[in-house]
């Protein structure tokens, strides 16, 4: 399960403490730029303005991180990869057991959107 952490802290196996919301009406109609499945019902989706981290056994919990708030995206591992998303507040989100091509696609999409966002600032 991915984890949301305060600065300098890592916690696994719990739902994020901040910014959790239920899916909004019509939200499902907006297709993501890319998305991928991680361990334990976790799904990451990259949109034009945000990254959605969906969790819960029916995908009912969604934590959104604005593209502008994403500070870094790292990939660890080769076969069962961990995608580590870090925001400006120092929180790290770990999405485990992803496939390498999926993790790379998410990382590339996030970096591309960040570049676009900084172009229009």
């Amino acid at each position: 399960m991915f984890a949301a952490e305060g600065p300098g802290e890592r916690v696994f196996g719990v739902l994020p403490r901040n910014g959790v919301r239920d899916e909004q009406d019509g939200e499902h109609l907006e297709p993501p730029i890319t998305q991928a499945t991680a361990h334990n019902n976790n799904v990451v989706g990259v949109f034009a303005d945000r990254v959605d981290l969906r969790s819960g056994w029916q995908g009912q919990h969604v934590e959104s991180v604005s593209i502008r708030d994403v500070s870094a995206v790292r990939i660890r591992g080769l076969i069962n990869c961990t995608l580590i998303l870090e925001d400006n507040a120092g929180r790290q989100y770990h999405l485990e057991r992803m496939a390498l091509p999926d993790a790379r696609a998410v990382k590339a999409a996030v970096e591309r959107q960040k570049q676009k966002a900084s172009t229009y600032e």
Binding site: L15, E23, E27, H28, L29, E30, P31, P32, Q35, A36, T37, H39, N40, N41, V43, G45, G56, W57, Q58, G59, Q60, L78, I79, N80, R97, A99, L100, P101, D102
Partner: protein
């Protein structure tokens, strides 16, 4: 007068010629008839085993959700096609070609002169049927083993993964194990007993399945937030049971057909097969009732399959009473394994690891227990007949060697696929169903498409009917 003379002469000539005609049309010899009957039986058995693909199709369709049925049957078709071609090209030679303790090295592409068949395929020189009949029968077994692999990986695997892994499995992994046990390899030399393939076919398929599903991960929604398994019911139990029954009938080609000769023994083998399957159904249903106070239809079907898998190895070596014990225990073992596998986070929609894996292990080991001295055509009698622990040890060695090899080699292939192309479909594809995304058509267009158009489907939205069961509250 002249006409009478001409007529008489003609009749005399014909009468004299008749014995000559009779000699020119000598009837078939006993040997010819025996060969014809053997060939007919092997071909019929091969067709029965090939028809087991229909059984797998119905079983997997029944245990799947409606939105994925098209992908299931497409997978069955492509796997059969790839298995046939790869086994023809290289697999049959590796499995049964004359070679060394590890693999065969002759007979590629079935390209062998007519008089040299037994020299090229020493592993099958014990049967007199034509090469084409031998191949037809063995390729059906390869296809069955491959079909088992995908039972654990339903509803979330990319179609390309099926294709690529099938090439490796049918061309290399399965034939190597086949050579070790059936083709004159090192386990043949040790006297390992596996008459029709509990280890070669079923354990191999299950170990490859386990390797794949460990890397694939469970379906979305299979485990709740506390990690407890959630039942994702199949959409059609009648189809699933039809699949079981087709498999059961197909097993009459699988086990008795492995004699590769039309002998009276095939009736005895059919008897042990039938008794084991019947006992397996009851064993699994009893376990289901004891555990949940109801009789699960799917478990009953899996009990039959586990028992059939278990009896596959010892079917020609054991007495009828032993086949009942083997089948009954297989039902118990299957149920317990399925519960265990579910709880440790391994999502197996069909129960293939339990039925084919543990059924294969139990069946292979049971040779070392129940093989009678009269029927031990290979190896030694079992422990219960004074054969000691030798045969049991050989069986265990074979299980560990073959199971371990298949698991590790399959894990390597799936790991390479996961690191390069990925083995799992995108989340929205999984939730919408593989039919429309992988194949462009729905398996049930009238039902699923209508539902989709009414807005009850859609990307990025989880709307699957999953339910909590008593498993989650234990």
């Amino acid at each position: 007068m002249r006409r009478l003379g001409l007529l008489t002469t003609t009749i005399l000539i014909l009468v004299l010629a008749l014995p000559g005609l009779a000699h020119a049309q000598d009837g078939p010899t006993v040997k010819d008839l025996s060969l014809a009957m053997d060939t007919m039986w092997v071909v019929v058995a091969a067709v029965l085993v090939l028809f087991m693909q229909a059984g797998f199709a119905m079983l997997e369709v029944g245990f799947s959700r409606m939105k994925n049925v098209g992908s299931v049957v497409a997978k069955i078709l492509v796997n059969l096609a790839i298995a046939a071609l790869l086994f023809w090209a290289v697999g049959f030679a590796i499995a049964f070609g004359t070679g060394n303790a590890i693999m065969g090295t002759q007979g590629w592409f079935l390209n062998v002169p007519a008089g040299a068949v037994n020299d090229a395929y020493a592993g099958l020189s014990w049967t007199q049927v034509p090469l084409s009949a031998k191949f037809l029968f063995q390729v059906a077994f390869c296809a069955v083993s491959l079909a088992i692999v995908w039972g654990t990986m339903l509803e979330r695997t990319k179609f390309a993964v099926y294709v690529i892994f099938a090439v490796v499995f049918a061309g290399l992994i399965y034939p190597l194990v086949g050579h070790w046990i059936w083709g004159g390899g090192w386990l043949t030399e040790l006297g390992m007993q596996d008459f029709a393939g509990s280890t070669v076919v079923h354990l191999s398929g299950a170990m490859a399945a386990l390797a794949g599903t460990l890397l694939l991960g469970p379906r979305l929604g299979k485990y709740d937030d506390e990690g407890r398994p959630v039942t994702i019911p199949g959409h059609n139990m009648p189809l699933a049971v039809l699949g079981v029954l087709i498999l059961w009938v197909g097993w009459y080609g699988f086990n008795p057909g492995s004699t590769m000769a039309a002998t009276p023994q095939i009736a005895d083998i059919a008897l042990t097969t039938t008794l084991a399957a019947a006992a397996g159904v009851l064993g699994a249903m009893l376990m289901s009732y004891a555990y949940r106070r109801n009789v699960d239809v799917g478990m009953g079907g899996n009990g039959a399959i586990a028992a059939l898998v278990a009896i596959t190895a010892p079917c020609a070596f054991v007495a009828p009473w032993a086949s009942i014990v083997i089948g009954f225990v297989a039902g118990f073992v299957m149920y317990a394994t399925l519960m265990f596998v579910d709880r440790i986070g391994v999502d197996d929609p069909l129960g293939a690891i339990a039925a084919h894996g543990m059924g294969g292990v139990w069946g292979t080991l049971s040779c070392g227990l129940f093989t009678t001295p009269d029927l031990a055509a290979v190896g030694q009698p079992g422990l219960l007949y004074g054969g000691g622990l030798y045969q049991l040890g050989i069986q265990a060695l074979g299980i560990i060697a073959c199971g371990g090899f298949v698991f590790l080699s399959s894990l390597a292939v799936f790991a390479a696929l996961k690191a390069t192309i990925g083995i799992r479909v995108k989340p929205d594809q999984e939730l919408d169903g593989l039919d429309i995304h992988e194949h462009g058509v729905y398996g049930y267009p009238d039902l699923v498409a209508t539902d989709y158009q009414n807005g009850n489907g859609g990307s990025s939205r989880i709307s699957d009917p999953v339910e909590r069961t008593a498993e989650g509250t234990a």
